[in-house]
C-alpha cells in the first residue's frame, strides 16, 4: 500500500503524465533524482530514469543510460528494427541489465524506487521498467558478535536479506529448499523470507507461520524482535519460544530438522520456529567437537543453567530459614562473614544482584575506550571494597558472581535474559517463605513451562512428554553414527543416515574404505584416498532431537561398490 492511500493508478503512454505522478509522490526529497534521456534521436523519443541517490549503484544506472543513448541506437539502426513497439525493443534489444520487471502500477514502481531500483519510463510505452540497481553501503560478512564458537564456520548474517538467504542456500543444495516472500510493516514494507525444506517440514507448519505473519498489522518492522513478539505463542511468558540466531550453520541445521526459518531484512538475526527449551542450552561447538567433549560441555551448561536459576535462592533460603541444613563448619564461616553486615540476607542478595545487573549493563553501553576500565574497577569495587566496608558478606559475593557467570554460559542471549528474569520471583519467594516458597514457586514455574507450546510442539519436549528416540541429543550428544532418525518434529524422510556408519577397520579390504570421514558443513572433499563421502552436514543446534541427515554420496571407488 502506498503511504498516503492513493487509489490504484496506472501508467499511461504519456511520459509527462507518468513522470508527474511519480514526482508528486516522491518529489520533495533531496535524494530523489530524475535523469532525462533522449532515446531514438531520429524519432525524438524521450525517456527518464528515477532513482534515489544512496540506495543505488550508479554504475548500473550509467549502463542503462549508456544503452539508451548509444548502444541501443546503434543496434536499432544497424539491424533496422521496427521502432514502433518500444516496449519490445527495449526488452529484447536495448536494455543490457540482467533482469528487470515491467509494471503498469504506480505503487509497484514507487516501492521499487524506494527499495533501490531504478524506474525507467519511456515515451510511448505504458509500462515502467524496474531495473534492480541496489547498491548501498553495508557491512561485510563477519563473525557473529553474540554467538562465537571455537570450532566452526565464522560467517555470520548481515543486514541484507539476500546475502543472508544466500549464506544458507549455499549450505543446503537441495531442491526441496524453498524461500517464500512476504512483506510486513505499513510504512517500512520490510522484506521477510520464509525458508523451509519441502519434504522434511511438517504439513501445516509453513501455513501456520505464513498466517501469523500475514496477521501482523504494524507501521514499522525494524528488527526481527518485533516479529518475534507479534507471532509468539505465549506472549506473557518470560520464556522465549522463538529462537533467534546470527549463525547460518545453525539455521541450516534447523532446517534439516524440519523447522522453518524467518529472514527479516535489515537485521542479522534470523528467527527459527518451532523451538524447544533445551535448544537454548546447546551451542554449535557441541556438534563440531567430538561427541565426548560435546557431551561434557553440554553437561556443564546444564549445570550452569540450574545454578544460575537456583543458587542464590537456595543460599538465601538456607541462611534465613533452615540453618540446620548447613554443615556446621560452613555455618560458622557464613556466620562469621555476616557478623557485621547490617542487612538481612534477602536484601543483601537483591542488592548484589542489582549491582551485578548494573555492572553488566554499564559494560554493554560504555564506549569502547572506557569499557575495560569499568570492568576492572567494577569488579574490584564490588568484590573487595564492599566486603571490606562491611556492606556485604564475602559469601554473597561469591554466590552472586557464580550465578552471574553461569548465566553467561547459556549460549543464547535472549534465553539467558529470561532465566535471569525468572530468578527474581524465585529469590523473593524463597526469601519470604523459605522452603515452602521455593517449592511452590518452582512448581509454578514448572507448570508454566509445561503448558507452553511453540508452534505446536510442547516447549519442554523431549523431556516431557518423553520421546525416547529424541533423547540422543538432549543431555549427551550421541556420535553422528548413532543418531539415525530425525527428530519427531519432522515429517517425512525420517531416516537420516545410511547403514552402519560407525567407523571400523576394513574387513579384509586394502582400500581405506570403511573409514567414514565426516567433513564439516562447508564440506571440502576429504583425503582423496578414502571414500570421499560428501556430507552436506549443516547441523548447528538440533533442538532436542538430534537426528541429522548425513547425505552420503559414495565415490565410485567406495565401499558401496564392493557390496
Amino acid at each position: 500500500m502506498v503511504a498516503n492511500n492513493t487509489p490504484q493508478r496506472d501508467f499511461t503512454y504519456s511520459l509527462t503524465y507518468n513522470s508527474s505522478i511519480i514526482k508528486e509522490l516522491l518529489g520533495g526529497s533531496a535524494d530523489f533524482i530524475e535523469r532525462k534521456v533522449t532515446f531514438l534521436e531520429k524519432k525524438d523519443v524521450h525517456a527518464a530514469c528515477f532513482y534515489i541517490d544512496g540506495l543505488v549503484n550508479t554504475q548500473i544506472i550509467e549502463k542503462i543510460v549508456q544503452s539508451l543513448m548509444f548502444e541501443g541506437n546503434e543496434v536499432i539502426i544497424r539491424n533496422d528494427l521496427d521502432t514502433r513497439d518500444i516496449e519490445r525493443l527495449l526488452e529484447e534489444h536495448v536494455l543490457m541489465n540482467t533482469n528487470f520487471i515491467e509494471t503498469t502500477e504506480l505503487e509497484s514502481a514507487i516501492k521499487s524506487i524506494l527499495s533501490g531500483d531504478t524506474v525507467l519510463l519511456v515515451e510511448g510505452c505504458n509500462k515502467a521498467f524496474q531495473v534492480p540497481t541496489k547498491g548501498w553501503a553495508q557491512r561485510g560478512v563477519s563473525e557473529p558478535q553474540a554467538e562465537q564458537v571455537v570450532r566452526g564456520p565464522r560467517d555470520g548474517f548481515t543486514e541484507s536479506i539476500r546475502v543472508n538467504t544466500a549464506l544458507v542456500r549455499r549450505r543446503i543444495r537441495d531442491t526441496g529448499f524453498r524461500l517464500e516472500e512476504l512483506n510486513a510493516g505499513k510504512r517500512t514494507k520490510t522484506d521477510i523470507n520464509i525458508a523451509y525444506i519441502n519434504g522434511i517440514v511438517k504439513k501445516g507448519l509453513v501455513d501456520e507461520v505464513k498466517e501469523r505473519l500475514n496477521r501482523i498489522d504494524i507501521d514499522g518492522i525494524l528488527e526481527s524482535g518485533y516479529i518475534e513478539e507479534l507471532i509468539r505463542d505465549a506472549p506473557l511468558s518470560p520464556f522465549t519460544t522463538i529462537m533467534s540466531t546470527e549463525r547460518p550453520d545453525k539455521v541450516a541445521s534447523s532446517l534439516l530438522e524440519g523447522r522453518v526459518a524467518i529472514f527479516v531484512d535489515n537485521t542479522p538475526f534470523v528467527l527459527v520456529v518451532p523451538t524447544y527449551f533445551w535448544e537454548f542450552l546447546q551451542a554449535s561447538d557441541d556438534y563440531y567437537l567430538g561427541f565426548m567433549a560435546g557431551s561434557f560441555f553440554r553437561i556443564v551448561r546444564y549445570t550452569a543453567f540450574i545454578l544460575s536459576l537456583t543458587l542464590t535462592s537456595i543460599y538465601v533460603m538456607l541462611v534465613s530459614f533452615h540453618q540446620e541444613m548447613i554443615p556446621t563448619p560452613l555455618a560458622l564461616t557464613i556466620a562469621s562473614g555476616r557478623e557485621v553486615v547490617p542487612f538481612p540476607v534477602l536484601l543483601e542478595a537483591l542488592l548484589m544482584e542489582l549491582t551485578f545487573e548494573l555492572m553488566r549493563e554499564a559494560g554493554l553501553r560504555m564506549p569502547k575506550p572506557v569499557g575495560s576500565a569499568v570492568s576492572i574497577v567494577g569488579s574490584l569495587v564490588i568484590g573487595q571494597a564492599a566486603v571490606q566496608a562491611g556492606i556485604v558478606s564475602p559469601f554473597m559475593v561469591i554466590i552472586v558472581a557464580t550465578t552471574g557467570i553461569s548465566s553467561f554460559v547459556i549460549p543464547n542471549y535472549s534465553a539467558s535474559y529470561s532465566i535471569r528474569l525468572i530468578r527474581f520471583p524465585l529469590l523473593i519467594a524463597s526469601g519470604t517463605l523459605g522452603l515452602l516458597g521455593f517449592a511452590s514457586m518452582f512448581a509454578l514455574i514448572a507448570i508454566h513451562a509445561l503448558s507452553i507450546r511453540s508452534f505446536g510442539e510442547s516447549y519442554l519436549a523431549p523431556a516431557t512428554p518423553f520421546q525416547p528416540q529424541d533423547q540422543k541429543d538432549t543431555i549427551f550428544r550421541m556420535p553422528w553414527w548413532a543418531m539415525k532418525k530425525r527428530p519427531q518434529l519432522a515429517d517425512n524422510d525420517t531416516s537420516k543416515i545410511g547403514e552402519s556408519q560407525l567407523p571400523q577397520p576394513p574387513k579384509g579390504d586394502e582400500h581405506g574404505e570403511s573409514t567414514h570421514t565426516k567433513a564439516e558443513e562447508t564440506s571440502e572433499r576429504k583425503e582423496p584416498e578414502s571414500n570421499a563421502e560428501q556430507q552436506s552436514e549443516t547441523k548447528e543446534d538440533s533442538g532436542g532431537t538430534g537426528i541429522k541427515q548425513l547425505k552420503r554420496r559414495k565415490s565410485p571407488k567406495g565401499k558401496g561398490d564392493e557390496k
Binding site: 515452602l436 509454578l444 514448572a446 509445561l450 523431556a463
Partner: protein, 370 residues
C-alpha cells in the same frame, strides 16, 4: 478436542499418587500395629492394589469413552450417577485432607514450625488451581518430573542410611502373626485406593485402551518396589519402636541420614524432591474432585467449579490438620473405612452391574457412535 495422555504419563501419575503419603504417615501407623513387619504389609497391600486396579480397568473398558460416573449413569440412570459422583467427591475430599496432612506435617513440623498452617493451604490451593486450569496434560507432565524426583529421593536416602542398616531389626518376620500383618495392610490400601479412584476418573483419557492393564500394573509394581524400600530402611535403621513413635517416620529417617562427615542433615534436598511429587498428588486430587462436582451439577467443563471446590477442600483440610491428634485419628480410623468402602465397593459393583447389563451398555455405545 479430546485431551489424551500417554501410557507413560498414566504410570507416572499412579506412582506420584501413591508415593507421598505411603512412605511417611502410613509406615508410622502400620508400625504402631505390627512393628517390624510393615514391609510385608506393604507388599500384601500392593498385591491387593493390583487386583482392584484390574477390576477397575475391566469395568471401565466396557464403556471406554466414559469414566466410572458416566457408566453408572448409563446403567442405573442419571440420579444414581449423580449419587455416585457425590460419593466420589466425598472420597477425594478425604483424600485431599490426608494429602494436605502429609504436606503440612512434612514441611511445617520439620522446617517452618512458626509458619501458620493457612499459608500451606493457600499455597497448595494456588498451585493446584493454576495447574488444573491447564488440564490434565500439564499435570501428567509434572508427574513425569515427579517420577524422576522420587527416584532421586530414594537414591539419596539409600546413600545416607545404608551404613546404619541393621538386618537384625527386621527379624523376626511375622512377629505379630500373619493375620494382623494382613489386617494392618488396610492402611496402605487406603493409599492406592487414591490411585485406583483416580484411574476410574481418567482412564478414558489414556490412549490405547489395549495397554491399560499393562501400564497400570507396571506402574503399581514399580511404585510398590520403591515404596517398600522405605519400610525396610525405616525398620532397619530406626528400629520399629522408634518408627512407631513418630507421626512422620519418613522425615525422621531422612533426618538421621548423613553422608560422610560433611553433609549431615541433608533432608532439605530430599524434601525439595518430595515436594514436587506431593504437589502433583495435590493437583490430581483437586482435579478429580472438580470433575466429580462437575458431574454432579451436570456442566460441560470443570473449570468454572474450580474455585468453590478448592475452597471446600481447603476448609476441610484446614479443620482436619488443625490438631495432630484429630488428623491422625481420622487417618487411622475413619478414613480407612470410608476410602476402602468407596474404592472397593464402587468399582466392584460396577464390574458386576456391567456384566449384568452388558446389553444395555452395548446399545448405548452403539447409539453414541451412530
Amino acid at each position: 478436542m479430546k485431551v489424551q495422555i500417554t501410557n507413560g504419563m498414566f504410570m507416572a501419575l499412579i506412582i506420584n499418587m501413591l508415593y507421598a503419603k505411603s512412605i511417611g504417615l502410613t509406615q508410622g501407623i502400620m508400625a504402631r500395629e505390627v512393628g517390624g513387619d510393615i514391609w510385608i504389609s506393604t507388599i500384601f497391600s500392593s498385591i491387593q492394589g493390583i487386583v482392584i486396579m484390574a477390576i477397575v480397568i475391566f469395568a471401565i473398558k466396557r464403556l471406554p469413552n466414559g469414566d466410572m460416573i458416566d457408566q453408572y449413569g448409563q446403567i442405573l440412570g442419571k440420579w444414581i450417577g449423580k449419587g455416585v459422583a457425590a460419593l466420589v467427591f466425598l472420597f477425594f475430599l478425604g483424600a485431599y485432607g490426608t494429602i494436605m496432612a502429609t504436606f503440612v506435617y512434612h514441611l511445617k513440623d520439620y522446617f517452618l514450625p512458626e509458619a501458620h498452617t493457612i499459608l500451606f493451604i493457600v499455597a497448595a490451593f494456588l498451585i493446584g488451581s493454576y495447574a488444573i486450569h491447564f488440564g490434565i496434560e500439564v499435570i501428567a507432565r509434572m508427574a513425569l518430573i515427579g517420577v524422576f524426583s522420587v527416584m532421586a529421593l530414594n537414591i539419596l536416602l539409600l546413600a545416607g542410611s545404608i551404613s546404619e542398616f541393621d538386618i537384625k531389626e527386621l527379624q523376626p518376620t511375622f512377629d505379630s502373626g500373619f493375620f494382623s500383618t494382613l489386617w494392618a495392610s488396610r492402611h496402605h490400601d487406603a493409599d492406592w485406593a487414591m490411585a485406583t479412584m483416580m484411574a476410574c476418573m481418567i482412564l478414558p483419557l489414556v490412549r490405547d485402551s489395549a495397554t491399560w492393564i499393562r501400564s497400570s500394573t507396571s506402574g503399581l509394581i514399580f511404585s510398590g518396589v520403591i515404596i517398600v524400600m522405605w519400610p525396610i530402611l525405616e525398620v532397619g535403621v530406626l528400629s520399629p519402636e522408634v518408627a512407631a513413635q513418630y507421626i512422620v517416620s519418613c522425615m525422621q529417617m531422612a533426618r538421621s541420614a548423613e553422608i560422610g562427615l560433611f553433609l549431615h542433615r541433608y533432608e532439605m534436598i530430599m524434601i525439595a524432591f518430595f515436594a514436587l511429587s506431593i504437589l502433583t498428588q495435590i493437583m490430581m486430587t483437586f482435579l478429580c474432585s472438580s470433575i466429580a462436582v462437575q458431574k454432579i451439577i451436570g456442566l460441560k467443563d470443570y473449570r468454572p467449579v474450580i474455585i468453590p471446590v478448592g475452597l471446600v477442600l481447603s476448609a476441610f483440610s484446614y479443620w482436619m490438620i488443625g490438631s495432630h491428634h484429630r488428623a491422625m485419628g481420622i487417618i487411622e480410623k475413619e478414613w480407612v473405612l470410608v476410602s476402602l468402602s468407596i474404592a472397593i465397593g464402587l468399582p466392584g459393583m460396577l464390574f458386576v452391574l456391567g456384566a449384568i447389563f452388558k446389553k444395555k451398555l452395548k446399545k448405548k455405545e452403539e447409539a453414541k457412535t451412530v
